[in-house]
Symmetry: C2
Subunit: 196 residues, 2 copies
DNA sequence: CCTACCGATCGGTAGG
DNA sequence: CCTACCGATCGGTAGG
């Protein structure tokens, strides 16, 4: 009985979080109101506070749960024995897939992090920086091993991350473009641009 | 006398607009308050309304003045007799330069357009779509003339536009990276990825 | 999960 | 360009 209650509570939390992500994406964190979120869930605004301490906590959960997914993935990639080309490709593909599967979360993490409370904001940015640093490492190693032609690794990573991030616009083309089509073309463009 | 007054008024307007762009970029349109903007300008909030009808009008001016610059540039590029490779390169370089010279305006146009009043929003999106369409045309022609290898032109343009847009992050690296260095590396990466 | 409600802040106006 | 001020809306609390 207690077990069931816990499960249903955490389900409820997840539902709220998903709705918050969708709303924050559509309207922006500041423009989205707690009342609007409550309306989506068919409850009154104050009822939300039984599940979350504040509006900011919702944003925090959205941003950091997304960050954890990316961090966890790059852990795996770095630990793998693949070539640096393959590693880079794996990172690109993961970004594209995340954008496809968890669009609202990724979008909010990308766009609304600036509204995080100060300490969370600093933690978030340092984790993002660390992710970037590890990706740069892969490019550098790839250059040293002659897998990639010589380039400015920092700019290369910036270019790749920006390109995949831009997939948020592709929502508009969703019907016309399949995910695999998109993945393959983008991977080719970005990898072709840097290999020997 | 009247002439001087007009000049000084339009200067004043420009100063307000630049400050608005800087503020909207830093805090986001919704989070930025009219009072905050007034404070930057060392006047009281209601005084702003002698220059602008509403907060939304400021956003509108920022978004559309930026859009006009890009539209004007692609007009020139399309009219030129250069190869499609050169045309694509020119577009990429212009994006990078705009990001460098008018960062606040470009950033706000990229991020805050969703807060435009409905009709302005629709006009803005249709102009952006048109810009994209013309860029796709250049890629298609380049493929037909065997300047570019075969690819999905829509994804190619999406990749390029996303990559240059991502330069907003590079603000963090401004000291380490020169504009020309950045331009050349990014142009190489993106063009190398698609040429024959 | 709801009703009732609060202080703070918002964009904007009137009138000078 | 300012003072004085307004209605609307915000995130959040008390108490059940």
């Amino acid at each position: 009985m207690a077990r069931i209650k816990i499960l249903s509570n955490s389900n409820r939390k997840e539902i709220i979080l998903k709705n918050a992500a969708a709303l924050f994406r559509k309207r922006g964190y500041k423009a989205a109101s707690v009342r609007e979120l409550a309306e989506r869930l068919d409850i009154e605004a104050p009822s939300l506070y039984n599940h979350f301490r504040s509006k900011a906590e919702l944003l925090k959960k959205i941003c950091f749960s997304t960050m954890v997914d990316f961090t966890g993935h790059i852990d795996m990639v770095v630990a793998s024995k693949e070539s640096n080309v393959k590693k880079t490709e794996a990172l690109i593909r993961f970004h594209i897939q995340k954008m496809y599967n968890d669009f609202d979360f990724v979008y909010v993490a990308n766009h609304e992090w600036k509204h995080l409370p100060k300490e969370d904001l600093e933690l978030f940015l340092s984790q993002r920086k660390e992710y970037e640093r590890r990706m740069i490492e892969i490019i550098i190693e790839g250059i040293n091993k002659k897998e990639f032609r010589k380039s400015h690794p920092q700019i290369t990573v910036l270019t790749i991350l920006s390109a995949v991030r831009g997939l948020e616009f592709w929502q508009r083309h969703k019907k016309e473009l399949s995910i695999t089509e998109l993945e393959d073309h983008m991977v080719h463009h970005l990898i072709n641009g840097i290999i020997q």
